[in-house]
C-alpha cells in the first residue's frame, strides 16, 4: 500500500455506467454490493425507513442524501445490524445479512462509522487504530496470556496503524489519548480505524460534518483514494458541493423512502429531490428546519448553475 496519494486536486475520475436500464428509484446495478428489499422500520407510529428496493454499486462512491430525519442513519443502522427492521431482507456481497449481528457484519467487510463520532476516549490514538485490525490472535483471552504467540502480529498491526495514521496526518498524535483530539481529527481517526480491517464496503455517516474546510479537502481525497484501492464507499452527506464533487451515484431518501437515484448532476436537477428537500407542505411549515432546507435548496440550485 504505497499510496503516496497525490492529493487529487482536479476533478476526480467518476465511475459511470453503474446501472441497468432506465434510471428510477430502486434501479438495478451492473455489479451491486448491497441489494436490499422491503426494508421497513417504524418507531411507534413513525415510519423511519420504508425502502422497497435499493442496490449499491460496487467499487464506486455512492452518496445517500436527504433532509433531516429522512431515515438515512436508521437505514445505516439496519444494514449494519445495529438495529432490527420490522420487515425486509438484504444481501451483502452475496450473503443474506438479515438477523446477522453487527460485529459479524463488520467482520464480513462491511464497516461503518457513526454520525456522532465514537472515539474511544481513554485509549491512545494508536490503540484506537490497533483495535480496528481483524483476526487478532491476542484477542483470545487464553492466548493473551502467552504474549509470544501474538507479538509478531501485533508488530505488523502497529506498522499498518502508523502508516494509516500518517496518511491521515495523525501520526504525531499516536501516543495521545483520543480524548485530546479535535472534533475533525476524531472523524479522521474513526475513518482510519475503520480502514484497519481492510473492508470491502465503508459506510460513512456524515464524515464531513464539523470538519473545517482545510481538512475537508484531505478527507475527500481519502475517500476517493478508497475507491482507487478497490473499496466501495457509501456515505451520508448534507453538503451538496461535496456530493457533486466525489459521488459516482446518489441515492435520495425522504420520509423513509428512496425518492430518486442517479448520477449527481441528474439527481440534483430532479424536481422530486428539490421537493423532498423543501417538504411537500413547505408553505405550511416554517421555522428552523425550513431555513436549513432553504440553504440546501440553494446549494442544489447553485449546483445546477455550475453544471
Amino acid at each position: 500500500m504505497s499510496s503516496e496519494a497525490k492529493p487529487t486536486r482536479g476533478a476526480p475520475v467518476k465511475s459511470t455506467n453503474l446501472h441497468i436500464g432506465e434510471i428510477k428509484p430502486g434501479v438495478a446495478k451492473v455489479d451491486p454490493i448491497i441489494v436490499a428489499d422491503n426494508v421497513t422500520r417504524t418507531f411507534g407510529g413513525l415510519t423511519a425507513v420504508d425502502v422497497e428496493h435499493v442496490e449499491v454499486p460496487r467499487n464506486a462512491i455512492t452518496a445517500l442524501i436527504g433532509p433531516n430525519g429522512a431515515g438515512k442513519t436508521t437505514l445505516f443502522n439496519l444494514l449494519t445490524g445495529f438495529d432490527k427492521p420490522d420487515t425486509g431482507s438484504w444481501v451483502f456481497d452475496g450473503t443474506a445479512l438479515a438477523g446477522i449481528p453487527s460485529f459479524k457484519v463488520s467482520r464480513m467487510g462491511q464497516v461503518r462509522t457513526f454520525q456522532l463520532t465514537k472515539a474511544l476516549n481513554l485509549l491512545s490514538v494508536l490503540d484506537n487504530m490497533k483495535l480496528g485490525a481483524k483476526g487478532q490472535k491476542g484477542e483470545n483471552m487464553f492466548r493473551a496470556l502467552l504474549p509470544w504467540t501474538w507479538r509478531a502480529q501485533e508488530e505488523q498491526i502497529e506498522a499498518k496503524a502508523i502508516e494509516l495514521l500518517s496518511r491521515f496526518k495523525l501520526d504525531t498524535k499516536a501516543e495521545d489519548y483520543a480524548a485530546s483530539l479535535s472534533g475533525g481529527q476524531r472523524k479522521l481517526l474513526e475513518m482510519a480505524r475503520a480502514l484497519m480491517s481492510d473492508p470491502q464496503l465503508v459506510m460513512l455517516d456524515e464524515p464531513m460534518a464539523g470538519v473545517n474546510p482545510a481538512l475537508t479537502q484531505s478527507l475527500l481525497d481519502h475517500i476517493l483514494d478508497l475507491k482507487t484501492q478497490g473499496m466501495t464507499v457509501l456515505f451520508v452527506e448534507h453538503d451538496m458541493q461535496m456530493v457533486r464533487h466525489i459521488a459516482d451515484w446518489v441515492i435520495v431518501m425522504a420520509e423513509g423512502k428512496i425518492v430518486a437515484e442517479g448520477p449527481p448532476e441528474a439527481v440534483m436537477a430532479n424536481p422530486a429531490v428539490i421537493d423532498a428537500y423543501l417538504g411537500s407542505h413547505h408553505d405550511q411549515d416554517l421555522g428552523a428546519t425550513e431555513e436549513e432546507n432553504v440553504v440546501a435548496m440553494k446549494e442544489l440550485l447553485d449546483a445546477d448553475d455550475e453544471s
Binding site: F76, N77, F82
Partner: protein
C-alpha cells in the same frame, strides 16, 4: 452437623437441594420444608418457644411462624413437639401455628385462633402454647387466601409506588440512580416517630409535620450535595456511587442516634375489621386511601400543571427543555422536594404496614423500589406506579407457594425475567443508536 459418614448417602439429596435452590432462584417452585426445630437462637438473644401436644401426645412437623418488626422466621416442631425461634428484639411479635400442618381432625381450639400476639416479660424467653383439640378445621379457601393476600399486596404496592415515583422523577430529570432514596424513606418514619412519640404531638399533626420535614430533607440534599455536583459536571456513575456513600453514612447516623431497636408509632395496633376474606385495620384502610389520593394528586400535577408538564419535558430532553426556556434547576429542585415528601410519606405508611420504625427500614425495601422503577421502565413516573403494584402483588401472592422468608426473592426474579423479555421495562422506550 453430621459430616463425612453420611456424605455418600446424602449426595443425591444435596444435589436435589442445590438444584432446588437454583430453581427457586429461577422459578417459584419452593423447596420442601426441611426439618428444623430451632431457628435464630444462636443469633438472637430473645427466644420464643413452645410445645405442641394433642392429648398429651407430642405433634411433630407442625409449622410455627413468627413475624413482626420487619422480621420473620418459621420452624417445624421436633419429635417431642418442641420448637424455638430467636428474634432480634424484645418486642411484640405475632406467632402463628399453621393448622394445615396439624394431623387430620385436629385444630387449634383457642379463642383467638391459630394466631397470637406475644411479648416478652422480664426475661428474654417467652413460652407460647396453643390449645389443641379435636374439631373440623375452618379452612380458608384458596380463593379467599388469594384475595386476602392480594389486598395486602395492593396496600404494599401503593406505598412502594409513593417512593418509586419520587425515585423515578429524580432519575428522569437528573439521571441519578439515587441509592440514598432508602434513607429518605426511613427519614419520614423517624421524623414521625420523633414528633409523635418523643415530642408527643397529636398524631395527625406529627405525620403532616414529618412529611413536610421529608420534603425539606429532599430540598436540603439537592441544595447541599446534588446541585453542587451537577455544577461540577460529575458524571452519572460517580454520582450514583456518591449516593451509595451517602446512603451508608446517613443510615448509620440514624442508627447512631435512634439505636438498633424497632419502635411503634401510636395507633399501629388497631384491631382488624373483617370484610369477607379481607381483614384490614382502620390504619391500613386510611393508609391505602392516602396513597391513592396522593398518587392521583401526583398524576394531576404531572399531567395538568405547568410545572408538572415542565418536569416531564425535562425528563424527556433536558437540553431541549432548557433551550425552550424552562428553568431546569427549579424543576429539579421541585422534584427533589416532591421526591423527599413522597418518600417520607411512604416511610410513614411502611411503618404502619410492617409495623414498626427502625433505622434501616428503608434500606430493606430499597431493592424493591428499584425493582419497581426498573420494571416500569427507568424514568417513567407511571411506569414506576405499574411496577410497584406488580412488585407489591407479587410479593404477597407468592407467599401462597413459597416460604415467607423468601418472598422478596420472587419479586427480584420477576425483575430479571421482565428485563429478559422487555429490556426497556414495561412502559419504557428504546434508545437510539448512532
Amino acid at each position: 452437623m453430621e459430616v463425612t459418614g453420611l456424605a455418600r448417602k446424602r449426595w443425591s439429596r444435596v444435589v436435589v437441594a442445590l438444584f432446588v435452590a437454583l430453581l427457586a432462584s429461577l422459578t417459584f417452585a419452593g423447596g420442601a420444608v426441611v426439618h428444623a426445630d430451632e431457628v435464630g437462637t444462636d443469633e438472637y438473644d430473645f427466644v420464643f418457644s413452645g410445645n405442641v401436644k394433642f392429648d398429651g401426645e407430642p405433634l411433630e412437623d407442625v409449622l410455627i411462624k413468627v413475624e413482626g418488626n420487619g422480621y420473620s422466621a418459621e420452624v417445624v416442631t421436633d419429635a417431642e413437639g418442641k420448637w424455638k425461634i430467636g428474634v432480634p428484639e424484645k418486642a411484640e411479635y405475632t406467632v402463628t401455628l399453621d393448622e394445615s400442618t396439624l394431623p387430620e381432625g385436629v385444630i387449634v381450639t383457642e379463642e383467638g385462633g391459630a394466631t397470637k400476639k406475644a411479648e416478652f416479660g422480664l426475661t428474654s424467653n417467652k413460652t407460647v402454647n396453643f390449645f389443641i383439640g379435636e374439631g373440623v378445621r375452618t379452612t380458608t379457601s384458596f380463593l379467599d387466601q388469594f384475595i386476602g393476600r392480594a389486598f395486602n399486596g395492593l396496600s404494599f404496592g401503593l406505598l412502594l409506588a409513593l417512593a418509586a415515583i419520587g425515585l423515578s422523577l429524580i432519575f428522569g430529570t437528573t439521571g441519578l440512580n439515587n441509592f440514598a432514596h432508602a434513607e429518605m424513606v426511613t427519614f419520614g418514619a423517624l421524623a414521625a416517630l420523633t414528633l409523635a412519640v418523643d415530642f408527643a404531638w397529636p398524631l395527625w399533626i406529627a405525620l403532616i409535620g414529618a412529611v413536610v420535614l421529608s420534603g425539606a430533607f429532599g430540598w436540603t440534599l439537592d441544595a447541599a450535595i446534588w446541585k453542587p455536583l451537577r455544577r461540577k459536571g460529575v458524571g452519572l456513575i460517580p454520582m450514583m456511587i456518591v449516593s451509595i456513600g451517602l446512603s451508608l453514612a446517613v443510615r448509620y447516623t440514624y442508627q447512631y442516634f435512634y439505636g438498633g431497636s424497632t419502635r411503634q408509632l401510636p395507633g399501629a395496633d388497631g384491631a382488624d375489621i373483617k370484610f369477607g376474606p379481607v381483614s384490614l385495620s382502620p390504619v391500613d384502610m386510611i393508609g391505602m386511601g392516602i396513597s391513592v389520593v396522593v398518587l392521583l394528586a401526583v398524576a394531576f400535577f404531572l399531567l395538568r400543571t405547568r410545572i408538572g408538564k415542565a418536569t416531564r419535558a425535562v425528563s424527556d430532553n433536558p437540553s431541549l427543555a432548557a433551550a425552550s426556556g424552562i428553568d431546569v434547576d427549579r424543576v429539579i429542585r421541585i422534584v427533589w422536594v416532591i421526591g423527599g415528601a413522597l418518600a417520607g410519606l411512604s416511610g410513614i405508611l411502611f411503618a404502619f404496614y410492617r409495623p414498626g420504625v427502625s433505622w434501616d427500614m428503608g434500606f430493606q425495601i430499597l431493592l424493591l423500589i428499584f425493582a419497581a422503577v426498573t420494571l416500569g421502565g427507568l424514568g417513567t413516573a407511571f411506569g414506576a406506579l405499574v411496577g410497584s403494584l406488580v412488585v407489591g402483588f407479587f410479593i404477597e401472592i407468592s407467599t401462597l407457594w413459597i416460604p415467607s422468608d423468601m418472598k422478596f426473592v420472587g419479586a427480584l426474579v420477576i425483575l430479571i425475567l421482565v428485563l429478559l423479555v422487555r429490556p426497556q421495562g414495561i412502559l419504557g422506550r428504546k434508545e437510539r443508536i448512532g
